[in-house]
């Protein structure tokens, strides 16, 4: 576990889960918008992979630009991306690692049988050797021990 921590509001968490359940058994993907480690909005993006959406997602450069534009419109910054792992645990794959950007938060939600389970957040290490798991906290809860980092 690293020092990274990400706060998501209940609405954000619900939106990510809904998106993952809706696209099951395919992967969903979208952008995380907010400021100072707090995600306040998501931007659902089309999964444009050509390698089979059950196991892959791809956000095209044009959609990435759109995500940056929407982030500014919403008065926030682009903090990272989320995607789902249908019928797989919420842990990053080698493929995730090979394609990761530094400093971004990567939220993964596991979806099995159309219902979402664990949700985790990951950050690329500076030397690109692996991910570090961050702590996922809920925004509305004021006391810290009620922050259910959902482990994979």
């Amino acid at each position: 576990m690293s020092d990274h921590a990400l706060i998501v509001t209940r609405d954000v968490e619900a939106a990510i889960r809904r998106h993952g359940e809706a696209t099951y058994p395919h992967e969903c993907c979208g952008a995380l918008v907010g400021r100072d480690g707090r995600v306040t909005a998501t931007v659902a993006l089309p999964n444009t992979t050509e390698e089979g959406p059950r196991r892959r997602f791809l956000v095209r450069p044009s959609d990435y630009r759109e995500a940056e534009r929407r982030s500014s419109e919403l008065g926030g910054e682009l903090l990272g991306f989320y995607h789902s792992h249908p019928d797989h645990p919420a842990r990053p794959s080698q493929y995730d690692l090979d394609h990761a950007w530094p400093t971004f938060a990567y939220i993964i939600v596991a979806v099995a049988n159309k219902s979402s389970h664990d949700m985790t957040v990951w950050y690329l290490k500076e030397d690109r050797s692996s991910f570090e798991e961050g702590t996922l906290n809920h925004g509305e809860d004021s006391h810290s021990n009620a922050a259910p980092a959902v482990h994979g």
Binding site: E27, H83, S93
Partner: protein, 479 residues
């Protein structure tokens, strides 16, 4: 001098600037200057070979440099150069096979030291899934070797119960398993052999309704069936789903094996478009099989399955292997995909699963021919009563001599069905004749024949000697 726009995740490396002024005449020169000024960027933009990473997109104005001149794309002072991420990822895929635990490394060490398998191949096996149709003669050795080899997910379809007559060849099952479901017995045996793998059992008869759904999650299908309707069903389902079928069949001393339904390869129907007339080709239950034969053929099926998963060697695609155990010889027939094939040809007429019982002319039910009316039959108990009463009856057993050696009804004479037309004059038309075989089918044919040549009093023993042993004389063995 030109400007490069920096995306959000890279700004920590450019002192939070979203644009950096750099010098150069081409994209490559600009990027070189950029990474000179901000060295932290290098590892994220370029891979170990010094090439731009696949998810790093460089645009000159609104054009991707992949469609221009890549890094040699010239840049003028008023052009805008942007680094635009594509964001990709995903769950572990087949190309990213699971890793092996230390226990698994020990278990598979003889595979791991072979260059043709190695770590990569063993991980492919672990990621693979194979469905065995039947846990019988062929399914037993195939499933055991596939489990031992470390195929990660093994499915088995069967609905039968272990019988004493299975034990001569179906080595998945032991004597204490007689009476248990074959699947329960198979699962115990395979789990004991290799607890590292997942075993899924399907207690059902394979049918046109469930075949596609059952096959869908598996990479390779191993056909260990013993009848034509299921064989055609497995073939057609494999072709429709594009899955290879490691085929095997056995009879007495002869076995066959091939790989059907592989990409560009032939299918079972290219070889046999139509099934043989019902009853012409006997099954193992009718004709017998050498116990070790399914061992040889089932292991060939397992070998082909493993080769398909590893992608090594020459698969048995387009080749039909015939094995003769008596002469200990293998022969090979060349098979080509038939463009006229009704299921895998250029213009297929079979585009969904059909009624295979009907296709093979097999009507379920009716174990005895309809021509036999009740008036021409006698039951075991009636026969016993009449013998006890002292009625003068002549019992004619029309089985083969080797069957006669297993069990017989006291006082019966043996005339095998095939000899009846030649030897019926040994019988006295004045006698009342009781025709008898194993289950009553062959003897009904013999009874019909004798009536047709003028024997007035001919009865068929209903249910044959099996029923006689059940109802009258349990001391004798059944087969």
């Amino acid at each position: 001098m030109a400007k490069i726009l920096i995306p959000t995740p890279l700004r920590p490396y450019t002192d939070k600037q979203d644009a950096v002024d750099v010098a150069g005449a081409t994209v490559g020169e600009l990027l070189a200057d950029l990474t000179r000024k901000h060295s932290g960027l290098k590892g994220h933009l370029y891979n170990e070979q010094g090439k731009l990473r696949s998810f790093v997109n460089i645009y000159v104005n609104d054009e991707d440099i992949r469609y221009l001149q890549h890094e040699k794309t010239p840049v003028a002072a008023d052009d805008t150069v942007s680094i635009i991420p594509s964001v990709a990822g995903g769950a572990p895929a087949v190309t990213e096979a699971p890793t092996l635990s230390n226990d698994e490394v020990k278990r598979y060490s003889r595979h791991l030291i072979m260059p043709e398998v190695g770590m990569e191949g063993q991980r492919k096996l672990k990621a693979a899934s194979v469905l065995c149709i039947g846990a019988g003669g062929l399914g037993s050795p195939a499933a055991m070797y596939l489990a031992a080899a470390g195929v990660g997910r093994l499915g088995i379809v069967d609905f039968d119960v272990v019988d004493f007559s299975n034990l001569q060849r179906q080595i998945l099952h032991g004597t204490p398993d007689v009476g248990r479901s074959k699947l329960a017995s198979a699962k115990d045996r395979l789990n004991a052999l290799n607890p590292e793998i997942q075993i899924d059992t399907y207690e059902t008869a394979l049918s046109s309704q469930n075949a596609l759904k059952l096959f869908e999650p598996y990479d390779v299908i191993v056909d260990g069936t013993d009848n034509f309707p299921t064989r055609y069903l497995v073939n057609d389902a494999c072709v429709l789903l594009g899955k290879p079928n490691a085929y095997g069949s056995i009879f007495r001393f002869e076995g066959q094996a091939s790989v059907f339904g592989a990409k560009d390869g032939p299918c079972y129907r290219c070889l046999y478009p139509e099934p043989p007339p019902p009853g012409l080709v006997p099954s193992c239950a009718e004709g017998g099989v050498l116990g070790v034969l399914p061992g040889i053929i089932g292991v060939i099926q397992a070998t082909e399955t493993i080769k398909l998963i590893l992608g090594v060697g020459e698969p048995l695609v387009g080749r039909f292997l015939i094995f003769d155990a008596l002469r200990m010889k293998f022969r090979e027939l060349k098979l080509r995909r038939d463009p006229e094939c009704p299921v895998c040809g250029t213009h297929p007429t079979v585009t969904h699963l059909i009624d295979y019982e009907q296709f093979c002319g097999v009507t379920p039910a009716a174990p005895e021919p309809a021509v036999v009316s009740n008036a021409t039959e006698i039951t075991s108990l009636e026969l016993k009563q009449r013998l006890d009463r002292g009625d003068k009856l002549k019992i004619v057993d029309v089985r083969e001599p080797n069957e006669w050696q297993i069990c017989r009804i006291p006082g019966a004479v043996l005339i095998p069905l095939g000899d009846v037309p030649r030897r019926y004059h040994e019988l006295d038309p004045n006698d009342e004749l009781i025709m008898q075989c194993r289950s009553g089918v062959r003897s009904a044919k013999a009874a019909d024949f004798l009536r047709s040549v003028g024997f007035p009093r001919v009865l068929n023993l209903k249910g044959g000697i099996l029923d006689w042993i059940d109802k009258v004389d349990p001391s004798q063995p059944k087969y």
